[in-house]
């Protein structure tokens, strides 16, 4: 490992705020991953469902998950300072 990289790792370790931020990013990414999986499963269910009431129920859940993911990506952008939107 190069000295510069080592120093940056050491700085991260010593800076409590930076450490908390890294942990925050890790947690939000983990939750976003779970939400994405849930979204995929629900979309599959929606494709197989014929009952209009059940379809509406699944659709409502999908809208909520999309909103949560959008919010999560926004927070992630703020934390990292970069830009991307949920797929």
């Amino acid at each position: 490992m190069k000295t510069k990289k080592l120093l940056s790792k050491l700085a991260d370790l010593l800076n409590a705020d930076r450490r908390a931020q890294i942990e925050n990013v890790r947690c939000i990414k983990e939750i976003l991953k779970k939400l994405k999986k849930k979204e995929r499963d629900l979309k599959e269910k929606l494709d197989e469902e014929d009952d209009p009431d059940k379809r509406a129920e699944i659709d409502a859940k999908l809208r909520v998950i999309y909103a949560q993911r959008t919010k999560g990506v926004g927070i992630l952008q703020e934390l990292r300072g970069d830009g991307c939107t949920p797929a």
């Binding site: 942990e23 925050n24 890790r26 947690c27 939000i28 983990e30 939750i31 779970k34 939400l35 409502a60 859940k61 809208r63 909520v64 999309y66 909103a67 949560q68 919010k71 999560g72 927070i75």
Partner: protein, 601 residues
């Protein structure tokens, strides 16, 4: 009264002793400094009970060997089985660990405490220990004055250790001088009588000083200066072991039933070990001699031999009791029982749980879950549904539609019996915990839990208001008004079901984020009914009186649902702090909910 007499008597004896002998003064001061050192060390270690110790305790009680290992290591490091017992009882009272795990820790603590005798006999008497005390005290005191809780804790630990060393030094010097003027060994009692008498003295000394280490210190230093015979010293060590259960017994007074069981198991273990040691004293002495030879301990080094004896008989105790730990737990559960707790009495809030912040927070969380369980049954009845129906997989809309008659219930009385008292007890307990010095995140957790408890109370109160009209209209022959009330009932029943799934970890509702769907539905239902209401009045399908009732009840239903969801998003959040915080950041607020509703349009 008797306590005052005892203190006066102790003062009188000490004053007489000080007047008669300056050496006695030094010995007594040595014990006092040693005990003060123990207190300072306990204070220091308490600074680390904010998270590290609790985390360890949680992770190390799933297997018996881990519990024993935890007991050995922590007691060896802290040199205080008392603090380990108090924390264990506190966690047990909060329902964080099982009784068998707690017993394992106590067994381990008994083994860990034997390292104290080795330290005193091996290090305290062989080296000029006072030389180490001075820098420890100087560095320690500087750290005690620091702001950081962690540094302060290290400071107290170092200062405590310094005082321990200083106490040992004073006692050693005192006994060395004392032997020139007074020969305590002349009072030695041989045989079984001596064994029992000195074991009794050991118990009494440990109970008075609340520290088996202090008794062992007096025993070892007196033995080193030949003021005590080896046989009597062994008996004192046995007595000190029994006396050390006193801390756990005192700690269990404010504990729940499992805490009391643990204290009793501690007493049973130490008593059994002592009886076995007394019965097998010859064999143990012989084993100590043989092992001493093997370990290179001189035949006349009685202090180290005493330390070896102490370790050996505690090991024997653990070896004898370990195979019967299951039976011991069974016996304690049968023998120590309490009256079946009533639904309105707190189950987890007790003095023992107050001792450690993590245990106090967990006890509060469990008590609010208990409160929620009571509230759930009342709300279910208020919706004219059976709790089992809500907990099942039955179609809720169909179950609601099948209602033909709503039985009268007195929600006010149910609230007084099953909610109000419990809620008050929770609020009082939280205030008591917050009166202690707490890490900021614990204080925040407690504030959120207090809010959750209030949410439950509000939900029950709103149910009471809604129930009056619901009883009248939900089984009404007017289909239009009934339909609206049915939709409110179905929605609230669905929220209760989702919370149940979240609490038990089954079904779709696996994280607090899944309850955001309920928030959106609540908002949509509220708006839909209000729009429908206008149409129904216009078309004269319901009376104005019915419409007013429905408008009010719609607001109550919204309140019930919102309070329940807010409560559940606090109460059933994840345990891991960083993940919980992240999840709470992602939950939808009013603006997000508005966006979700607009997206549908």
């Amino acid at each position: 009264m008797s306590r005052r007499i005892l203190i006066t008597l102790a003062f009188a004896i000490l004053a007489y002793g000080f007047w008669r002998s300056a050496d006695f003064q030094q010995i007594a001061a040595g014990v006092a400094v040693f005990l003060f050192g123990m207190l300072a060390m306990e204070e220091g270690f308490k600074a680390f009970t904010g998270g590290m110790l609790e985390g360890l305790l949680r992770g190390t009680t799933d297997r018996l060997w881990k519990s024993i290992g935890f007991g050995i290591v922590t007691t060896t490091l802290m040199q205080s089985s008392g603090l380990v017992s108090v924390i264990t009882i506190s966690f047990l009272s909060a329902g964080l660990i099982e009784l068998a795990g707690g017993i394992g820790i106590i067994f381990g603590a008994n083994l860990g405490t034997t390292t104290g005798a080795w330290l005193i006999a091996g290090l305290g008497l062989k080296v000029r220990i006072a030389a180490y005390a001075m820098p420890l005290l100087a560095f320690g005191v500087i750290l005690v004055f620091q702001r950081s809780k962690r540094l302060k804790g290290i400071g107290y630990t170092l200062t405590g250790l310094g005082f321990l060393f200083l106490g040992i030094h004073y006692m050693k010097e005192g006994f060395d001088a004392f032997k020139d003027t007074f020969d305590l060994a002349a009072y030695a009692v041989p045989g079984l009588l001596g064994l029992l008498l000195y074991a009794g003295i050991g118990i009494a000394a440990t109970v008075i000083m609340q520290s088996s280490h202090a008794t062992l210190l007096i025993t070892i230093t007196a033995l080193a200066s030949h003021q005590l015979t080896y046989d009597n010293a062994l008996a004192l060590a046995i007595g000190a072991n029994i006396g050390s259960t006193v801390t756990a017994i005192i700690g269990s007074f404010g504990a729940n039933i499992d805490g009391k069981r643990l204290a009793l198991s501690h007493l049973m273990f130490n008593l059994t070990t002592a009886i076995v040691a007394i019965v097998l004293i010859r064999q143990l002495r012989w084993s100590v001699d043989v092992l001493s030879q093997g370990l290179g301990i001189a035949a006349n080094d009685y202090t180290l031999k005493l330390a070896l004896f102490h370790t050996l008989f505690n090991l024997l105790g653990v070896a004898l009791m370990l195979p019967f730990i299951g039976q011991l737990v069974g016996f304690l559960q049968r023998f120590v029982q309490m009256r079946e707790p009533t639904a309105d009495a707190p189950r987890y809030l007790n003095e023992a749980a107050l001792q450690v912040p993590a245990a106090a927070v967990e006890a509060t969380r469990k008590e609010i879950r208990h409160l929620y369980q009571n509230a759930f049954e009342i709300i279910a009845q208020g919706l004219a549904l059976r709790p089992e129906t809500i907990d099942s997989t039955q179609d809720l809309a169909r179950a609601v539609a099948a209602t033909t008659r709503i039985e009268p219930i007195d929600i006010d009385e149910l609230y007084e019996q099953r909610v109000k008292g419990l809620h008050s007890a929770i609020i009082e307990f939280i205030s008591r915990v917050q009166a202690q010095e707490l890490p900021e995140y614990r204080a925040r957790e407690l504030n959120a839990l207090r809010e959750a408890s209030r949410n439950i109370v509000e939900a029950v109160k709103d149910t009471k208001h809604m129930y009056k009209n619901l009883r009248r209209f939900a089984a009404s022959p007017y289909p239009d008004i009934r339909q609206q009330y049915d939709s409110l009932r179905s929605e609230l029943a669905l929220i209760l079901r989702e919370i149940g799934e979240l609490a038990s970890g089954i079904g779709d509702a696996d994280t607090i984020l899944s309850l955001d769907g309920a928030k959106v539905r609540l908002e949509e239902t509220d708006r839909r009914i209000n729009i429908t209401l206008t149409r129904l009045i216009r078309d004269q399908r319901i009376t104005a009186h019915m419409a007013t009732s429905l408008m009010n009840d719609c607001a109550y239903a919204y309140g019930i649902g919102k309070n329940l969801v807010d409560m559940a998003q606090t109460l059933f959040a994840l345990r891991e702090r960083s993940l919980k915080d992240a999840e709470q950041k992602l939950t939808l607020d009013e603006t997000d909910i508005e966006k979700v509703i607009s997206a549908r349009r």
